[in-house]
């Protein structure tokens, strides 16, 4: 496959894959479908690259274009499937009371706690956290997909992290009481 010099598909995937998959998952697609839809998005973007009128270095324009394609594909899929969208599929959390838990088990429980807390956040907070921590993507790339500047993403990220910590503490308190 020859990739044209104007659109560097590989680096585009490298920078945008994670946040795009994360963003799609927040629309109600399962992780597997989010990955497939992201693959569709990049292939569609490549095939219709002639229609992109912006600069390939303009992250904001590129992000908006990718988002538009992903959005269209997602809604086409939604129309096709009879069911409505659903929330990201996080495994049910049940933190077992195991005092002898090993370090690995402790980490696993912590991660489950974070997953549960994520589901309890507001959608905007959850979205920015997923986009940031799925692959450690940059604020600029996240902003390009959300239509926000870097400062705005940073502010949203700070608030989301604070909300997540608060939620985790609430959950721990509830757990202790129970």
């Amino acid at each position: 496959m020859t990739i044209v010099s104007d659109m560097d598909l590989e680096s585009l995937i490298s920078s945008h894959k994670g946040p795009l998959i994360a963003l799609i998952s927040t629309w109600g697609a399962s992780p597997r479908d989010a990955v497939e839809l992201a693959q569709d998005t990049f292939s569609e973007a490549y095939l219709s690259r002639d229609r992109y009128k912006g600069d390939w270095d303009d992250l904001k324009a590129l992000g908006a274009w990718l988002l538009g394609i992903a959005n269209n594909l997602f809604h086409a899929g939604q129309r096709a499937s009879s069911g409505s969208g659903r929330l990201i599929s996080m495994p049910e959390v049940s933190v077992a009371d195991r005092p002898e838990a090993t370090e690995a088990q402790e980490r696993e429980e912590r991660v489950r706690g974070v997953q549960q807390a994520l589901l309890q956040l507001k959608a905007t907070e959850r979205t920015v956290l997923l986009m940031r921590y799925t692959e450690g993507s940059s604020l600029a790339v996240i902003g390009s997909l959300l239509g926000l500047g870097e400062r705005a993403v940073e502010g949203r990220l700070r608030r989301a992290r604070a909300a997540l910590k608060e939620q985790l503490e609430k959950n721990m308190l509830l757990e202790e009481r129970s």
Partner: protein
């Protein structure tokens, strides 16, 4: 060992355990880069290989439309002998996007040109029969004033008419020709009836002008009629127009020669030879092998029997399927199978086989055991049945794998049911790129899975998709199904229109007729819609006799055969009986030519033998 989170632009407090926990907790959303890239490239490859032919003039098999549109149209105004070789076959560009904007005007063309024919008839009668007898002596100055007065009075309408005719050539060539001929008749009669009446124009001069005008219009009408824009072998086909004009020109010239003594016998014979040559040329261009000729079903069967090229096998399969359903298929598949085997052996062995051709080759019986094994892809089917939302694999991509797996007997009943349900759900009529191909492959998947009866679940989606892709020609002579609705322009009633319908839509139209045969003709399609669809298929199925048939000609021919078997078509035929007005409309170009020839002949006959003798002083 867990993968550590790496963030290049860390914000304050972000390097904590919470970030790593989030990263660990979102592992399900993380796709391996290389695997992801490979999947994307595979999708790009599949799409690029299976995308519809680009609807450009470049894709036309007879690649003759290399010239700008203006040059193509302007070429119609020049006699064939002045045109470079090849330009005689110049066709008309199609699918202009501006058509919807000029629609109200375009829809009036047939009425306008038909009215013009009637007006020409009335004014022509008045010009040759009314007023003073032709040749009757009249004051010379008054006669010249008459002629000048005609131009003074009509210069603006004449100019507007000529500009209008040239403009109309881009949108309705048949009506442009009618108007051009009618307009020429009026101008000719308006000027020469006056001059002849005054005795200023002799029979020879009138004959000369009439002959020149009709020869010029013969060339023009020939240029306009040769492309498959409004050609046909019946009386409504434009082939008769140049012949009538040629005949009229010949008669006028011969009338002009009457009474001329001692000269012209050799020249007259050579002129008649020229006339005969041009008549033969007109007939050859419309009926001979260098012109386009209708494609019979026997032609299609013979072409299939001799076909050794499998590059367009999906189209070939559709031709075979439609012919078979219409009970018209009788071809020997040996040549095709031999070519297919060679291709399959080479490409499967070399790893270059495009699986999207596989289903067609399987259905045509070209696959052997090792080919099935090479195409089988149980992972693809498993992935498809497990996936939550049908966003990637389309029925078209899935069909070869399903057919191979079924041949090898390894798809469970549960999987079949799951695939059937998902294939039906995946047809999205509201999607801008939804098209007949989606329906076509969805129904084929259901057929091979043994769920043909469930195809009826696609009926409403089918009606919607066919409605969105249905395109009517501006002059409402033809209708077809476009490949996609996204590129169409709709009028205020929601009907897509185009000034000319491209032959490229033949594939989508053939698939749509296949679907209509399976799921029924949509209720929104009227008898007239079926009639214009039939007209489109009849035109696009004509092929150049000299170059033979290809899939672009065979596909509409087979689709037309299938259309004619539909009960809805049989019912529609009763409603499509020609009315007197309809026949008049259809024959308007021919009638205009007849009027010009007839009035010119009458005017020539009635003009004085020699103008200078008729106008004696005093």
């Amino acid at each position: 060992m867990k993968k550590p989170l790496v963030i290049e632009d860390l914000i304050e407090g972000e390097g904590d355990q919470l970030s790593q926990d989030l990263f660990d907790g979102l592992g399900e959303l993380r796709a391996d880069h290389d695997e992801f890239l490979r999947e994307v490239k595979q999708r790009i490859g599949e799409e690029a290989e299976t995308s519809e032919p680009v609807e450009s003039e470049e894709s036309k098999p007879q690649a003759i439309l290399k010239l700008p549109v203006f040059v193509q149209r302007a070429a119609a105004f020049f006699p064939p002998v002045l045109l470079p070789q090849g330009m005689i076959k110049i066709g008309f560009p199609v699918g202009s996007k501006v058509s919807a904007k000029i629609l109200p005007g375009v829809m009036l063309f047939p009425a306008l040109s038909a009215a013009m024919v009637l007006l020409t008839f009335a004014l022509g009668l008045r010009a040759v029969l009314g007023g003073k007898k032709l040749g009757q002596r009249q004051n010379e100055v008054a006669a010249r004033d008459d002629s000048k007065a005609w131009w003074r009075r009509y210069w603006l309408p004449s100019l507007v008419m000529m500009i209008g005719v040239v403009w109309m050539l881009f949108h309705a060539p048949n009506d442009a020709l009618t108007l051009l001929v009618s307009f020429s008749t009026l101008v000719f009669l308006g000027v020469y009836a006056s001059l002849a009446r005054a005795g200023l124009a002799s029979r020879q001069e009138v004959a000369k002008r009439a002959t020149a005008a009709m020869y010029w219009l013969t060339g023009t009408s020939l240029q306009l009629s040769v492309p498959d824009t409004f050609a046909g072998r019946d009386l409504t086909g434009a082939w008769l127009v140049p012949l009538v004009l040629l005949f009229g020109g010949t008669v006028c010239r011969q009338l002009g020669n009457l009474g001329r003594r001692g000269k012209g016998s050799v020249a007259g014979r050579s002129w008649i030879g020229m006339d005969a040559f041009f008549a033969a040329l007109v007939l050859a261009l419309h009926f001979g092998p260098i012109g386009k000729i209708p494609t019979s079903l026997e032609d299609v069967n013979q072409w299939l029997s001799s076909l050794d090229d499998t590059s367009q096998i999906n189209q070939v399969q559709l031709v075979v399927s439609n012919m078979e359903t219409a009970s018209e298929l009788s071809f020997d598949s040996q040549t095709l199978k031999a070519a297919a085997k060679q291709r399959l052996d080479n490409e499967i062995l070399g790893g270059s086989f495009n699986h999207l051709y596989a289903a067609a080759l399987m259905e045509l019986g070209c696959f052997e055991e090792e080919h099935y094994r090479a195409v089988a892809n149980p992972e693809k089917i498993g992935r498809y049945t497990r996936s939550e939302a049908p966003t990637s694999s389309r029925a078209e991509h899935l069909l070869p794998a399903i057919m191979a797996e079924l041949h090898l007997g390894s798809i469970s009943t549960e999987q079949r049911e799951a695939i059937a349900g998902r294939v039906i759900a995946a047809v999205a009529p509201g999607y801008k790129y939804a098209n007949s191909k989606d329906l076509f492959y969805a129904v084929r998947v259901l057929d091979v899975l043994g769920f043909s009866d469930r195809a009826t679940e696609l009926k409403s989606a089918s009606d919607e998709i066919l409605r969105a892709t249905w395109v009517l020609e501006d002059d409402e002579q033809e209708g077809a199904f476009a490949t996609y609705s996204a590129s169409l322009e709709y009028d205020e009633t929601g009907l897509a229109r185009a000034d000319r319908l491209t032959f490229v839509w033949g594939h989508a139209t053939a698939q749509s007729i296949w679907i209509m045969n399976r799921l029924g003709v949509p209720r929104w399609m009227s008898a007239r819609d079926l009639g214009v669809l039939d007209a489109y298929l009849a035109r696009t199925s004509r092929h150049y006799g000299i170059s033979g048939l290809n899939e672009y000609d065979a596909e509409p021919a087979a689709a037309q055969a299938l259309l004619h078997t539909l009960p809805e078509w049989k019912a529609a035929r009763a409603e499509l009986v020609s009315t007197i007005l309809g026949t008049f409309y259809d024959l308007r170009a021919l009638l205009a030519a007849v009027l010009l020839a007839a009035f010119s002949t009458i005017l020539t006959w009635m003009a004085p033998q020699k103008g200078e003798e008729a106008v004696s002083p005093g």
